[in-house]
């Protein structure tokens, strides 16, 4: 055959040779089918291919012109049935026959079919085509006339075969077979798309199904072919094909829910792929399908069912955002968010697990949005959204994707659409969707049982929902809303609510992404609800909301969430102040304020000032029932104030403070005259002081004045600078707020609920920290807070005592001597008493004791007491009291931690009054005998001398050693001084 060229070869393909050819063909087919040897099979197929003039070998072939091709086509039409059935049998035969056979069989199949059924040829064939020469009438019976009827019937038969082949080959394990199948589809689609209209469905199915084949080559080939098909616009020009596709779509949509139920993930995947492929191929023509109500209905219902979420997971509700402590660290967390691209929360669907399936469905929706009529689609899905709770989540999901697709984002399409949706249209659509999303009935849903005041929230929501008159679907809203607001919401419904909120939040993120900077205008209405959800107690919601914030941030061109909040704080403040007016929404509003404070910085303060005032006045109105929810805000508020002002201040004026401290400490030290002054002078100074004190005691006034001047000289200056100036200028806003908050706290300190009391104590501590630079304000407040605080310290739950003690320490740090008398009068006896009574308990207790509250309380008191003594500059008798109480804890029988804490108390006492401490400790245990330096002095007798080793010995010796070390260190700092270290107890000996 190869050697035959030119016209010669054509003579072979005359009708007259038909019988001979037929014999050859059937022989070859039989060989291919029945022969066992693979080689022979292949050779037979090859030969056949050559015979039909479709050889694909490298040698040069004479190209046939159209007339000749037609002739050949006519000729082979007779063999088509035989060849095709035989080949299909070969192809669908045993897999073991080897892929090569299958591949060449497929190749032969499509070559034959495309030769005979080529659209080009068929188009030229007319009905009255002359019959081949009359004299060969016997032969003419064999020749087939390819008229329309024939084409029709052949196509029907072929479609069956193609269906079989496609079914088989697309699941064939060898990739080359699948590749060849793709080729087949390509050829047939290209050449016979009109004649084989019926099979187009099968062909596309194969093609689309193979788009995501495991083999990359097959994949890319598929893509290429799909693209080329789409580019050819065969679909657009060919009504029949479009009809087939849309019919296909319809039947797919109808079958989808059933398939989703029955198939495994792989099957679902290919089904959806098919759907996507047909949509893509339809391209802009998809509107024809969508305009038919039945089609749209089917399609949307199918999507609704497929996307049904699994809401039975209990964990969703259980996961809670943990306390404000964790969330204060959020700025860094949200930065991390900023790095990752908008990633949605993982959803759990009822009908599938595979993430790829979800992304396929996303793609489907996006393609719909890309090509489809946006208004029609959005309207339809909004209808579904408001139709029933069952569809709401899915519809929202679809809407989100539709919009994304409509904007042409994240969508992978085969052909460009003619007209893109204008930004104005998009904005309008998005605005209306958002309105629906953030409507109270769809936004504030019950997501947890233990929300305080859930019941009145619900009633208000109900009344609000009814209060919206007119709206087309207000009635359906209420009816669909009421099940979710059932007084005892089930886990399922709450889960569903949580998901709904999350999806809507994601939607907001999507829309922001779509609109970009244009979205800024919508922030006025959207930002508040999103931020409200960011403070939600359900982990999932708050995470999603934070993610949304980040998305919005990116979309609108803000560098950080903080910027976003700051730049739009006027919108937020508006929302907060309006919502504060509604009792039921107060918790939300306060939550938003909390989130706002947490994410923002000091520049926010002027804006929120009046809102804070609103919060306080709202708190005044509802002391009883809402205190705890407001306290959350207040604590965030003052914590933020501390962060913004106190820390910053500390950085700004470190020198000033240092100076102040130095001056104050130096004055203190001068006053005591024991540490700084060298030893020799020390004694002298002490004696002088002693004399002066004695004179004062005797009523020698002039000396006292001198003394006072001397001691207080360094003090007044800084104080004048500080407080004098501030007395005149109005209080800075943050201090004023802290003061107002503190005032409320005083009232709430004696609240019935322990939780509230604890929270108040926290807030109080922060307030004190904020106010510590404004002594004039702080002291009166401290005075007013004192009685309530004392009650907390003296008789309350141990937890509260613990917290109160912390507050006391902070207060002491800032107020100092202002509290001295009060402390020694009101608190110290009680504290010391409780320490003493608790000591035997802790001494006896086992290792478990360290986990009890009593232990923690003891520890805290002991740890705090030392610095407290120092800060308050307590008098001698009080110090003795402290020392007495703490002494028991120096016992080796006490838990180690308590011993340590007790030692720390003594270390602090040493700073305040080293001499007394020395004496006290020596009374317990005295390691060295003290020889008087001169016989004229009395011999020193100390209580601890010559005692047996006791339980206290170790700790006391340790402390004495430390004391000694400090003294020598002080001494070595001034080496020119007397060589012999005087024991500091000399005065006592004198006395």
């Amino acid at each position: 055959m190869h050697s035959a060229y030119g016209d010669i070869i054509l003579t072979l393909y005359q009708p007259s040779t038909l019988p001979h050819l037929g014999f050859a063909v059937s022989l070859l087919l039989a060989l291919a089918e029945q022969e066992k040897a693979k080689q022979i099979k292949l050779a037979a197929l090859k030969c056949l291919q050559v015979l039909i003039l479709q050889c694909d070998c490298q040698e040069h072939h004479r190209l046939l012109d159209t007339v000749e091709t037609r002739q050949c086509g006519n000729l082979f039409a007779s063999f088509l049935p035989g060849i095709s059935t035989a080949l299909s049998r070969v192809i669908t035969g045993d897999i073991k026959q080897g892929h090569m056979v299958t591949v060449s069989a497929i190749r032969l199949f499509y070559h034959t079919v495309s030769l005979v059924m080529a659209d080009e040829q068929l188009a030229t064939i007319t009905k009255d085509e002359e019959k081949p020469s009359v004299e060969q009438s016997r032969l003419s019976e064999l020749v087939v006339h390819r008229g329309p009827d024939w084409v029709k019937s052949t196509a029907d038969k072929l479609s069956l075969l193609i269906h079989k082949i496609v079914e088989f080959a697309s699941l064939h394990p060898h990739w080359k077979v699948r590749m060849e199948l793709v080729e087949l589809v390509h050829h047939l689609m290209l050449k016979c798309s009109q004649s084989l209209v019926e099979s187009v469905g099968h062909l596309l199915k194969a093609l689309v199904g193979l788009v995501n084949d495991e083999s990359n080559e097959v994949q890319s080939k598929c893509h290429e072919i799909l693209r080329s098909i789409a580019e050819l616009r065969t679909v657009a020009e060919n009504r029949a094909l479009a009809d087939v596709l849309s019919e296909n779509l319809h039947s797919l949509a109808t079958a989808l829910p059933r398939l989703m139920n029955s198939q495994d993930d792989q099957g679902k995947f290919s089904t959806l792929n098919l759907l996507l492929g047909s949509l893509k191929l339809l391209g802009p023509e998809v509107n024809i399908v969508l305009n038919s109500a039945a089609h749209l209905q089917r399609l949307s219902k199918a999507l609704m069912q497929v996307l049904e979420l699994d809401v039975s997971d209990v964990k969703i509700i259980e996961e809670r955002r943990w306390g404000p402590a964790g969330s204060l660290g959020e700025p860094s967390g949200s930065l991390q968010h900023g790095l990752r691209e908008s990633k949605c929360q993982k959803k759990y669907f009822r009908f599938f697990i595979d993430e790829r399936i979800f992304s396929l469905i996303q793609q489907i929706c996006r393609v719909l949005g890309y090509y489809g009529n946006l208004y029609l689609l959005v309207d339809h899905f909004m209808g579904l959204y408001s139709e029933s709770v069952v569809y709401r989540k899915q519809a929202a999901m679809v809407l989100n994707e539709l919009i994304t697709g409509a904007a042409g984002l994240g969508v992978d399409v085969l052909q460009e659409r003619e007209t893109a949706v204008s930004t104005e249209d998009l904005k309008g659509t998005i605005t209306s969707i958002l309105e629906e999303y953030i409507d109270q009935a769809n936004w504030s849903l019950t997501t947890s049982i233990d929300t305080e005041g859930t019941s009145d929230e619900l009633t208000v929501k109900h009344s609000r929902a009814r209060a919206i008159p007119g709206g087309a679907h207000s009635s359906s809203l209420i009816s669909s809303f009421s099940p979710s607001s059932d007084p005892s919401p089930t886990i399922r419904s709450m889960n569903s609510n949580i998901w709904q909120i999350c999806i809507q939040l994601e939607g907001v993120g999507c829309f922001a992404y779509v609109l970009g900077k244009e979205f800024r205008l919508l922030l006025a209405s959207v930002l508040y609800p999103v931020l409200e959800k960011a403070g939600d107690s359900t982990l999932l919601i708050s995470q999603t909301a934070i993610g949304t914030m980040v998305d919005v941030c990116h979309a609108c061109g803000y560098d950080s969430v903080q910027n976003l909040i700051n730049a739009n704080s006027d919108y937020l403040v508006n929302g907060i102040s309006l919502n504060l007016r509604r009792v039921a929404h107060q918790p939300h509003a306060s939550r938003v304020l909390e989130a706002m404070l947490r994410h923002s910085d000091a520049s926010l303060l002027p804006l929120v000032e009046d809102v804070i005032r609103d919060v306080l006045s709202a708190l005044d109105q509802f002391y009883d029932d809402r205190a705890s929810s407001f306290l959350g805000v207040l604590s965030t508020l003052v914590a933020a104030l501390v962060q913004w002002f106190v820390v910053v201040k500390g950085k700004e004026h470190p020198q000033e403070q240092n100076l102040e401290q130095q001056s104050s400490t130096s004055s203190q030290k001068q006053g005591k005259g024991s540490v700084i002054t060298p030893m020799g002078q020390e004694v002298e100074q002490f004696l002088l002081d002693y004399i002066k004190q004695k004179q004062i005691a005797e009523g020698n006034l002039p000396a006292m004045e001198e003394q006072e001047e001397e001691v207080q000289a360094p003090h007044p200056e800084p104080e004048m600078n500080d407080t004098g100036a501030e007395g005149e200028t109005p209080l800075p806003a943050h201090a004023q707020i802290a003061k107002d908050v503190m005032e409320r706290c005083i009232h709430l300190l004696s609240d019935k609920s322990l939780r509230v009391r604890l929270k108040v104590l926290d807030v109080l501590e922060f307030c004190v920290t904020v106010l510590h630079l404004h002594e004039n304000q702080l002291l009166p407040m401290a005075h007013r807070a004192w009685p309530a605080l004392v009650t907390r310290l003296i008789n309350d739950d141990p937890l509260a005592v613990l917290r109160a003690f912390k507050v006391l320490c902070t207060l002491a740090e800032t107020c100092g001597d202002f509290l001295r008398r009060r402390f020694s009068r009101d608190v110290l006896p009680k504290l010391a008493g409780s320490l003493v009574t608790q000591a035997p308990v802790s001494a006896r207790a086992g290792p478990v004791y360290s986990h009890t509250l009593a232990f923690k309380l003891q520890l805290a008191v002991l740890q705090g007491l030392g610095s407290l003594c120092e800060k308050l500059d307590l008098g001698e008798s009080d110090l003795n009291k402290v020392a007495d109480a703490c002494l028991i804890y120096l016992s080796a029988k006490q838990p180690v931690k308590l011993q340590e804490a007790a030692r720390s108390v003594f270390l602090h006492l040493m700073c305040v009054d080293p001499d007394a401490t020395w004496l006290f400790l020596n009374e317990i245990c005295c390691p060295l005998p003290y020889e008087p330096p001169h016989p004229s002095l009395h011999a020193v007798k100390l209580g601890g001398m010559g005692r047996q080793r006791t339980e206290f010995t170790d700790n006391v010796l340790g402390l004495l050693g430390e004391l000694q070390r400090r003294e020598t260190a002080a001494f070595h700092a001034r080496p020119q001084e007397a060589p012999e270290p005087h024991p500091p107890s000399l005065p006592e000996a004198l006395g």
Binding site: A467, L521, A524, D570, V573, N574, L578, R581, L607, D610
Partner: protein, 303 residues
Amino acid sequence: MALPPPDPQFVLRGTGAEVQTLHFYCGGQEPDYPILLSGSSNGLIHVWNLKTRRVDTILDGHGGKSVYWVEAIYGRDRLLSQGRNQKICLWDLAEGRNTVTDSVFTENVGFCKCSLLKVAQGHWLMAMPGKDLDEVQVLELPSKTSVCTLKPEADAKPGMPMCLKLWQPDFGSCPFLLAGYEDGSVILWNLSGGKILSRLACHQEPVMSLDFDSEKTKGVSGSSEEVLTVWSLDEQQNLKVQKTQKLVNAGIADVAIRQDKKILATAGWDHRIRIFGWKKLKPLAILDYHTATVHCCSFNYRT
């Protein structure tokens, strides 16, 4: 149960002082966003963009003295403002400018707001308190020529004018001026003759504000007492009291009839805005949001 009064749509923050006067400018031809002008007691005029709900421009031209009247003229790019520094300024806002192009010095130191009436394309009449205490001056704008000076006869002694309202029955006909005075009376002036047409003593206390519906020839006035008086003008150009509405708390700072003549709003010293039906003065709502005296109220109405 009656529905609770609606919440504010949005609260515009950031004037930094009490708002003394408001004026909506809705455009008309342009499909543009509406703007709101506000004048506050720190002497600043804020131009609010109601789409973004933020301040577009801040105008400072009254030397820190309270601004108590602003109105747009020539579209959105020009506006008139009257301040306590005894100046009425014409602002040019076109193309981002914010300069005072013209100003009129008023010799009056009272609180009386001006009134503006468009009489022809490019021509306005502006009534403003005059040099003498009880005198009202009417200027023609933009030429600033005095049209007439309305001074009550010596024995009338109505005191200072407190509020003014220029109106005309039909476009192009002779304009009238309604003025509320310190002694509680409302006087109807005919501008062409400079004569008092009618005088109605409808309040015991100074008339703080009035508005007039020229279609129904019916007006309303509020004073520092707790009554709202509705009066009508008959064919003989006589003012007659039609109805008085008792209020709970005393003091009406401002009254405004909506442009469609359906409802009436009053701004009260009791921190509340009250809405009435204009036809029968049926109380409709009490808007309760403010925490201090409401100085003014204004309707945004797109025709």
